[in-house]
Structure formats: C-alpha cells, structure tokens
Symmetry: C2
Subunit: 121 residues, 2 copies
DNA sequence: GACTCCTGACTACATCTGTAATCAGTCTTG
DNA sequence: CAAGACTGATTACAGATGTAGTCAGGAGTC
C-alpha cells in the first residue's frame, strides 16, 4: 500500500467519514486550520487516485470520490510501522513509555485492564 | 522540535546508542541494509545539525557528533502525534486495535497487565 | 447562440528527502 | 616538502509534498 502523506491523510479522513463526495464537498469538509483552496484539495485528490488509495466514479461531468482502502488497514500499517521503528515492534515498552509521560490517566488504566480481561476470555 | 525524516532517524539511532562519534564511525554503524555511502551519512549529519537535533564539538580538524535531544523525548513526540492523528489521542482504542490485528499475544497481555498493576500502586 | 460557472487535467514552484560527487584545506607519512 | 588520506562544506539532482494557478470543455442562463 502506497504511503499517504500527512496532508493527504486529512483528505482521506474526510472520505472515510463520509463518501462518496465530489471534490467541492471534500474541500468544504477539510478542517479549517488547513486553510486549503479548492485547487489544493483537487491536487490531493488526484495524487491519492494515482496512489490507488482512492477510487472514483463519474457522475455526469464530475467525479465522486471514495476510499479504496479501509481506514482500519491503513491505521494498522502506520501504527505497526511506528511500533517497529521505535519500540522494536513491542507494545509493552510503548505502554510503559506513555505511562511515564503521563499520558495514561487512572481511568485509562482501568479501561485497558477491562479490555485485556475481555481479550483473555 | 524539528521533524526528523525516516532516513535521518537511522543516524539518530546510531548516536543514541553510542556517542560522541565521528562521521566515519557513524557511517560504520548505520544498518547495512541502508547501503549508504560515507557521503550520504555526512549529508544526514549536516542536516541534523542544522535542525538542531545534533550537537558537535571539534576534535582536531573533525567533529564529534552527539544527540542534542533525548531519544525519549523524540519518541514521545512521535508516538503522541500518531496517537492524536489516528486514535484521537486515546490509548485504549489503539490497544484494542492492535489486539484485533493479532499483534497482541497472550504473553503481551499478561505483561501489560502486570505493568498496569504496578502503575496503580 | 453568447457568456459564465464548474470540473478535472495540466503546469508551477519552493521545500524536504534520499543519495551522492566534488572541492578545498589539514594531517600524516615517507 | 610532496603525495595521499580524511574532513567538513558546497553543490547536484530526482522524487515527494504543500500549495496553488491556468486551461479546455461541458452545463446552465439569458
């Protein structure tokens, strides 16, 4: 699966949220902070099409875009990549790391414990 | 903190592992698979210096390079970024996700449970 | 039918990245 | 001291990325 750049990812998010959409509709939904022009969004869409991670169907003289890959799968790949790179692929050091950096509240801990308990049964 | 590119990261790893080192020593230690020439490593070192994530001291007519940021901090930033982007900053969905993708073995689960138990006390 | 609007296609351009080669100066070694 | 060996600095160049502008063709409007 082709790599998706940071900015392109924002476009994917829009389409994973809701699709199919026209280019103009995507542009409307891209987060404000990006401050992208319609032209920019169109460029992103073309590149994503070229990468094969978007598909399009013609509707009159324009396209309706939709994701060609599942968010789930993409996210799996990216998180795996990070885990491999920074934690030798092991989750435990990652959790330990987050805990140390105070990114884990007691509520989080409870929640994860329940999740793990469920996984065991 | 400036972003570190994928390839540059490989150089940082070498220096986090052991430092200070000369350019030639870094080149020797960069993983084989990269197949980088000494010239390439030197380019990386310059760029990392420019980004302020490496420091150097002169030793005779050459430099000894050492990290200017802690691995710990960089890793924290990158993992936080991924978590924010893909899981709304929440760890639980991330763990759930990994479990579903079979990246969590029973042994992992045990290990994390112990870790969490330790965190609570 | 002429004019305007919207759309994808194509082009533009600076920056970042991967991957070097070259160059000028300094050390070493005969 | 002359010849090499090494070093950082500078330059090169293609592909990816962020961020658009322009253009040709069809659709709708008067």
């Amino acid at each position: 699966m082709e790599r998706i750049a940071e900015g392109e990812y924002a476009v994917m998010e829009v389409l994973w949220e809701r699709s199919p959409l026209t280019a103009a509709e995507v542009a409307e939904r891209v987060p404000e902070q990006r401050g992208w022009s319609l032209a920019t969004v169109k460029t992103m869409l073309s590149r994503l099409l070229a990468k094969g991670v978007l598909a399009h169907e013609e509707e009159g003289r324009r396209y309706l875009y939709r994701p060609a890959i599942r968010r789930e799968d993409y996210v799996a790949e990216e998180s795996g990549r990070l885990l491999d790179r920074m934690f030798g692929g092991r989750l435990t050091p990652f959790v330990a790391h987050l805990a140390e950096r105070d990114r884990l509240t007691p509520a989080d801990i409870e929640e994860i414990e329940s999740l793990l308990k469920a996984l065991k049964s």
